[in-house]
Amino acid sequence: MLKVSVVRNILEINDRIAGQNRELFSANRVLVLNLMSSPGAGKTTLLERTVERLKDKYRIGVIEGDITSSYDAERIAQKGVQAVQINTDGACHLDSNMVREALGEFDLGALDLLVVENVGNLVCPAEFNVGEDMKIMILSVPEGDDKPLKYPLMFQESRVLIVNKIDLLPYVDFNLKRMREVTTGLNPTQVVFEVSCRTGEGLEAWLNWLEARIKERRAAP
């Protein structure tokens, strides 16, 4: 038997297309977020709140990834911005090729911010770059403060962690301090926002931070 050395990253094809997407985003100076969380943590609701507040100042587009249905894209489109639905037909994550295909629906030069809402899942999306500037993740309080230890990759890969549903803190055993100890160990430079999309608490800080990133992207050479 003869052994032939190969040494190729299994995700290289995904990474290559992600690189092409990134060049396209960069040429158009559009800030691209890959938004991830488990199902029901509040990705679409955070997006609704974000779009409501920023759409008069910035041009926003949204790609909605779901296994099936166009419910989320309809919710976002009702807010008056362009939303394109990708149905993965069973796949548990978006990959760079799916996003590339959806990009054909947008005029990227006419956008300041593009948000890719990934399929609800704390595992798989973390492995697949789609060409984003940064990964943003949401952990909602009812899911429990042990999630960073159980799904470390997602927490390590995400530049921003949004802790949502903090209005429920009095009713659940979620220890913010314990969670922060773990997330700091996993990802010491991660930016954390504690919010309630329902009451609006804490959203101001997130929106200000995001606005600063959009401006940075527009100003970049």
């Binding site: 299994i10 595992v123 492995e127």
Partner: protein, 130 residues
Amino acid sequence: MHEMSIAQSIVDIVREEMARYDVKKLEVINLAVGKMSAVVPQHLSFCFSVLIDKTDLEGTRLNIREVPMNYRCQACGHGFEAEQVALACPACGEEAPRLEHGRELSVESIEVADLDAAPPPAQPAEDLGS
């Protein structure tokens, strides 16, 4: 849960390599899968066997080398292996040791059954001159 996509990528890569070396039949594909990667080796093997069923790759064995998590402390330089995610250096207590190994997800080599179908002795083109 995304093992099927990973298995498909492995098949794509292996087919490219087989075409490059003019290999018709494979015995073994050697993979490196880091413990920190979100891939379950058992699921991956199952998905792979489904994908190659009744194709020219049928019978090819997937040999998965699991790569443990290896960290290095950014303060004292201590290197250590960990079964679980490490949040601090066991030697000095500094937080956030850097993960050096454990994210691997690669095809390392393929093993060819038939010596007549062996690749040319030269290295792949991109390795020449290095």
